[in-house]
Structure formats: C-alpha cells, structure tokens
C-alpha cells in the first residue's frame, strides 16, 4: 500500500518541491494551502505523515497542529514542521507542539526525504516490480573499494551480464553517486581505512533511498571478525575474495530475487525443456533446483505433459548431474509428465557408472526426444 503524505503550505512552490522530493518514491502526495484545508484533507485521507508550514494565512501551522492533537482520529498522525524561522524561541515553541521533527527553510530535498523516511516507510517506485526483474535486465551495481584492481575484477566477473558496475574508491564519492542514482546492489569493501565501510553501510541504511537496497560486504575469506561484524550489523551478505564470478552472480540474483530460470528452462515445441549448461557447479545445481519444482508445476498447470532434460551441452557427467537428473525424473513421475533425457554418448556412458541411472532413457538429440515423446520413435 502506498504511503500518504500531506503537505500543508500556502506556497505552491514549497508544495511542488515537496512533491518533487518524493517523485521517485511510491507515495501519494496530498496538498493543502492552509491549516483549515489541511485538517479537512487529513480527516478525509488519513495521511501517514503531515509536512506542515507554520506561517500561513487563514489558519497557521501552530493552530492547525493544536487542532490535530485535539482530534482523537488525527492526533496520532506524525507531523514534520517546516519553518523559515530558525531562532531559538521559535524552535522551542515548535518543539513544544508535539511534532516529530522540524526543518528550517531553505532545506535540501534529500534532507526532507531522509527525515520523512525516519518516520514512515518509503518504498522506491518500482520496488515491488523488482521481484519480476530477470537476470538479463540491466542492473546498476555500486562497488566501493579503495583498490581499483578489485573494482576491475568485479567488472570482469560480471562482464557476461548486462549489469553495469559503478566503481567508487572513496566513500564520499559513493554517497554522491547514491544521491543522484539508485543502485540495485551495493558492494562495500570491509577493509576501507578507519572502518569506513561499516560507517558507509550505516549511512546507506539510514537513508530512505537505500534503506532496503541489498548491500554486500567484501573481504578476504579468512577475515572472520570483519565478516561477523558485517553480518551482525545487517549486511545482506558477504562476498569473499578471491572472487568467484558464479557465486557473486548467484548472490546478487538471490538478493534481488531475479528470475534466472529462463537460462535453464524453455518451452520448445510444446515440451518443457531443462537445458543443462556445459559445467554444473554446485552453485548452478542449487540454482536449477530452486526453479525445478515451480517450473515443472507451472508447465503442468499450463497444460504441458512432456519434459526433456537436455544434457547435450554438458561435458562431464558427475554426481551433480546425476542428482539433478534424479530430481527432475522424480518430479516428472510425481506430476505425471512423460520425459526423455538427451545426452552425448560419453555422458550416457558416464551416467551408466551410477546405479541410480539404470532406468534412464537417453536419446542423442532433442528431435529424437520429441519423436520418442510423441510415440513415433523406435
């Protein structure tokens, strides 16, 4: 559900600035030009927060907040006051009104967003649809490391994706980047001088913009203390050096709940096809296993009754491949799908070394599998 923000200010300029400040967030903005209008909109819309000016005609902010606080329906709505007056007395007067916070004009939009973000949950626009992002979508990855060589390594590791790595060697540069952009994922070195990586993490988490952005800490495998500290602070995960490109991609995919299934699952000629890659690392096996049951169930749900497990690209038939094959075949049996396995002669021979594969029915090409499943292959 969208958060509701009510801005009460006689200045249209300020109301427009407030609306602009929250443009990239999934919020509904309501406006009122004075206290009386503000109370009416508040009663009608029940906003999650009110940004209230003090000096206004008809009914000023002080009177408006007094009325809000005396209403049983509205008194719980948090209020942030905007004031052009920063004098001691004015600040003291405002503080006594029972407000959550106040800002002195002129204010920076980012500051307003940050203060509001401390009180209500601000979701970036499109955040909900992030779950539907695919592996081949363009992602922006911010990497903060004082060693440019590491940034280059990450760029190389992700070079076969559409992901763009934005390297920053200083924390200040990273903060500047985030004030202008919203990265999909942030990777921060845990070995920055003066524990700056941890400070930066806390700054990102305090900012409404990056509050829920996945943030990974990066350190060498043996730096257990650093990693434990990062985990206890709430980092999304740890990326260890030396980098394993597949593992890094997998961690990013999981943190964003990216759909990677299309890499392995296709519908070909009305048949659900699981295409296994050349090399099956444990990471890839895990990834396929994650998608296997939902993909097969979806296929059955959409009327498909045949499945091909295509191992023709796979170079080595090891225990990973066999386990995956067993899982796929079991699932086909459970859900009543006809199936065939496609594999080269060498893969078939290697598989035959495992007792569990005795009943596997191999063919050498996808076309042969189609014929077999259609009942016209001998």
């Amino acid at each position: 559900m969208k958060s509701k923000i009510l801005t009460v200010d006689d200045s249209k300029t300020i109301r427009l600035i407030v609306a602009k400040a929250f443009k990239q967030f999934d919020v509904d903005i309501f406006e009122a030009a004075n206290g009386i209008e503000g109370l009416a909109v508040a009663a009608r819309e029940k906003p999650d927060i009110i940004i209230l000016d003090i000096t206004m005609p008809v009914m000023d902010g002080a009177e408006c907040i007094a009325k809000l606080k005396s209403s049983s329906n509205l008194k719980a709505i948090p209020v942030i006051m905007l004031t052009a007056e920063s004098g001691r007395e004015n600040v003291l007067k405002i503080a006594k009104m029972g407000i959550k916070d106040y800002l002195v004009k002129p204010f920076k939009e980012e500051l307003l967003v940050e203060r509001v973000g401390r009180i209500i949950e601000l979701k970036a626009k499109g955040e909900d649809s992030k779950k539907l992002k695919r592996y081949d979508d363009v992602l922006n990855i911010l990497v903060v490391d004082d060693k440019p060589a590491i940034i280059d390594q990450i760029k190389s590791a992700l070079a076969d994706t559409n992901w763009v790595v934005h390297g920053r060697t200083q924390t200040g540069e990273a903060v500047d980047y985030c004030s202008q952009n919203l990265p999909d994922v942030i990777i921060v070195s845990l070995t920055l001088p003066d524990a700056a990586g941890f400070v930066l993490f806390q700054m990102f988490r305090a900012s409404a913009k990056t509050k829920i952005t996945p943030i990974f800490g990066m350190s060498v495998k043996t730096a257990n203390d650093e990693q434990a500290r990062a985990v206890s602070l709430g980092f999304t995960g740890i990326v260890t050096k030396p980098l394993d490109p597949e593992e890094l991609k997998m961690k990013i995919c999981r943190s964003l709940n990216l759909d990677t299934s299309y890499k392995y699952f296709q519908h070909r000629q009305g048949i659900l096809t699981l295409i296994l890659p050349q090399v099956l690392t444990p990471v890839i096996v895990n990834e396929i296993n994650l998608h296997l049951r939902p993909k097969v169930a979806d296929a059955v749900d959409s009327g498909l009754i045949k499945m091909v497990v295509d191992m023709s690209q796979t170079r080595v038939a090891d225990v990973n491949l066999v386990r995956l094959g067993i899982s796929a075949i079991q699932l086909c049996s459970e859900l009543g799908l006809k199936h065939r396995l496609v594999g080269t002669v060498s893969v078939q021979e290697e598989c035959s070394n495992y007792e569990e594969t005795n009943e596997w029915q191999f063919v050498e090409t996808f076309d042969e599998a189609v014929l077999a499943l259609n009942g016209s292959y001998v």
């Binding site: 004031t83 007395e89 004009k105 920076k108």
Partner: protein, 147 residues
C-alpha cells in the same frame, strides 16, 4: 535549495537590472513588533524565471507562468526575512512576520526618512539580485547593543 552561488557586490553597487530598466520582480515581507520594517528581494523577471526552473527542477518554459514565479519569489523572501526575524528575536527584539507580496514592473524603492535602510547587492550566475531591508525602531529596546 537553489544550488546557485551568490556573491556580494561591493557596497553601493547598483542592481544592474534596475540600471538597465529591465522588468523586475520584487517580493516583500513585512515584520512588526519591537522592530517594524519590510524587506524586499528583487531581480529581473528573466532571472526569477530561471530560479523557479532550478527550484522546481523543470524547464523554464514550464515555470514561466507569473503565478509560479511570484510564489517562488515570495517564498524566497519569506526564508530570508525569516532568518532576519530569528536573529532579531534571539536578540530580544520580538516581532512577527507578515505574508509575502509581490510586485512587478520597473520601479525604484525609497525609504521613509525615519527608517534605517540597508541595500545588499549580489551577483548570481551573471544576474543581479538585491536584498533591501528597511527597519523602523518602534520602542526603546533597540539600543546600540542590539544594532
């Protein structure tokens, strides 16, 4: 908010827009109490449109409507005078602010003989901006110390 650098002119320098008789936009905010007065902020209307565009993050074309520019000038005057009022109040000179008003045209501002007048000229992105404050002492509170 505006992210524009403002550089003060040497004392006594005249607002170039005034000198060139350009169309001006002036926002005024009055204050009354222990100190009574009015503060004006004015600049050329073209610069005011430019400021509105910066402030609202939109194009000059979108923000050139007089209503928006007037409102923006009034709000800037309100912020500047709010700061002045806070300074006065912190020195024990309690006063309250009025709501901003805006005038357009080619004009000059003159003070009454009883009031104290300060004119500050600034240059900003090649444009002139003037802040003019007129104060009138309303009681004995304004001592040399408060000045």
């Amino acid at each position: 908010m505006l992210n524009l650098d403002v550089v003060p002119f040497a004392p006594g320098t005249v607002n170039r827009a005034l000198k060139d008789r350009e169309q001006q936009v002036a926002a005024a905010v009055g204050f009354s109490g222990a100190v009574t007065g009015v503060a004006y902020i004015y600049c050329s209307s073209s610069f005011a449109v430019q400021c509105s565009a910066v402030l609202l993050g939109s194009t000059i074309r979108d923000t050139s409507a007089d209503e928006i520019v007037n409102d923006m000038m009034g709000e800037i005057a309100n912020m500047v005078v709010g700061k002045l009022k806070s300074g006065l109040c912190d020195r024990g000179l309690i006063c309250v602010l009025g709501t901003p008003s805006v005038v357009r045209g080619t004009f000059s501002i003159e003070s009454l003989s009883l009031s104290e007048r300060r004119v500050m000229n600034f240059t900003c992105d090649g444009n002139s901006l003037t802040v003019e404050i007129m104060l009138k002492l309303t009681d004995s509170k304004l001592t040399a110390k408060n000045r």
